[in-house]
Amino acid sequence: MSGIVVSAPPISSGDAVADFERNRLALIRARRSKEILFAFLFAAMFVFSVIVGEVNIATLVEGVPGFFNYISDTIPPIRADSVVADVREWYWAFPKWLMLLFDTVVIAFLGTFIGTVGALVFCFAGSRNLVSSGWVYFIARRLTEIARAVPELVYAMIFVFAFGLGPLPGVLAIAVHSAGALGKLFAEVNENVDMGTVEGVRASGGNWFQIIRLAVIPQVLPNYLSYALLRFEINVRSAAVIGFVGAGGVGQELMFVIRQFVYTDVSALVLMIIVTVSLIDMSCEKLRHRFIPEQQTA
């Protein structure tokens, strides 16, 4: 530490510090007032929603015991000296339910797959940076918007009406909604690609398809895979729910036992669904992280 001696002029350094502190204080004050404004707006919206939504604390409190009673009613007695027999009785239709659960997962898988293909068809036309025609972009974007604006459950009801009960309307409902949801996400990924790479292929004489294939897809594929897997996780849950309107799988059976007040069957099915969904969630998450390792570090 010998040799060079740095001596800053004290007056100007003092000024700089004072200036900085003054600016910092002003900045903090400005930020504080903005924060207070946001907090106020949030509180106002909360109160407004509670009033409009007729959220009544008394009703809520009264309902709580009923909620817990229902749950305890659905759980069968399991005695210590006959655990195996009791569980066996609880899960009396286990093979059938397992098959139905498998159906649900298959519905989700097929729906996600077809939806992903649909999303791929629309996402390039729906990317501002990849199409020169405003019309093509506008139509592609509106189509994906319509596809995802309608919930799966509504599509399922329409398709059950059109094609009858069973897994087919379920697959279609999930496919259409997923195509819309993924189409938007894919298009947004496309809009973030490095345009230099795109320009590189264009400058070599590449046409639109070559640009998409050689410059865009290598950049976006890991993100596509990650989003499609995330969608699959969501769709397994959706597939269980859309069974309620007759679109196949375990949901259809769950609706049936709820209507028939077969209490223990309800808990048995719900437990199976929870375990399956959690397992799929966990494995999909692992897979997704493998596709995009750099997102973990970023």
Partner: protein, 274 residues
């Protein structure tokens, strides 16, 4: 011969390229100099037709390039290769595939979509890489290479296009001096051995003087100098570079034309040797 006649590109308020007329004989090595915003990149992009001119004409060997559309336009781009300051490779693809992308204009679309190329093309690609001393890295992902290596891959890709003209937009601006020298030497070799016309945008005057047969100086979209390095005077250079004169390294220029090339500043030589 490339003939540029009154070529202009006006953005709403800016005249990026303004009434430029030039004749570039086949096989010439041309350096384009000028300060930031002078219109150098825009001029090259107009020639390759990555940008469309708002006025004027551009023709090559009698063919009106400004009128080309669709397939003919893409053929023109493939004959008129371009390399960029930021290399613009496909990072996630390996080096050899990046080089083979130079064939997109020569192959049916479908075969390029499945990245199917012939053995002969692969051989050509490896030879191009070998020329640039990059064949060892052929199977490496482009993003794992250094900047200088990436630029050499980009040159190999350009060579694969079997171009008549090679346009280079500040190819050495992101490189350290040693890599810059390698890239400039590669461009010079391609120009001399293959007879390919090379037009290269450069920020530094010394580089242009060292490698180019002809220097074109641009300012505010117009050509303000067109001649040989020795004809460039300090006052002209100052006009071209304006405020940026000092970092373009023209302080040493005499006010009268000199016939001998200007010696490099000692500092630059020292860094280049490092």
């Amino acid at each position: 011969m490339l003939k540029i006649d009154g070529l202009s590109k006006h953005y709403s308020t800016v005249k990026a390229v303004d009434d430029v007329s030039l004749e570039i004989p086949t096989g010439q090595m041309v350096g384009i100099i000028g300060r930031s915003g002078a219109g150098k990149s825009t001029l090259l992009r107009l020639i390759n037709r990555l940008a469309d001119p708002t006025g004027g004409a551009l023709s090559c060997d009698g063919v009106d390039v400004t009128a080309l559309t669709g397939r003919d336009l893409r053929q023109w781009r493939s004959r008129c290769a371009m390399i960029f300051q930021q290399f613009n490779l496909v990072n996630r693809l390996d080096v050899i595939t990046n080089v083979l992308i130079g064939r997109v204009g020569h192959r049916p679309t479908l075969s390029t979509l499945v990245k199917k190329f012939t053995v002969a093309e692969r051989a050509l690609a490896i030879q191009a890489l070998h020329r640039l001393d990059m064949d060892v890295q052929a199977l490496q992902r482009a993003e794992t290479l250094s900047g200088g290596q990436q630029q050499r891959v980009a040159i190999a890709r350009a060579l694969m296009q079997e171009p008549q003209i090679l346009l280079a937009d500040e190819p050495i601006a992101s490189l350290d001096p040693r890599n810059a020298t390698r890239v400039m030497e590669a461009l010079q070799t391609i120009n001399r051995e293959d007879g390919i016309t090379v037009m290269v945008n450069l920020h530094h005057l010394d580089t242009a003087q060292e490698y180019c047969d002809r220097i074109i100086g641009m300012a505010a979209g117009r050509v303000v100098f067109d001649g040989q390095a020795k004809d460039l005077t300090a006052s002209l250079a100052r006009e071209i570079y304006g405020q940026e004169s000092e970092d373009a390294g023209i302080a040493e220029l005499p006010d009268i034309p000199v016939s001998a090339p200007i010696p490099k500043p000692a500092a630059a030589v020292a860094v280049a040797g490092a």
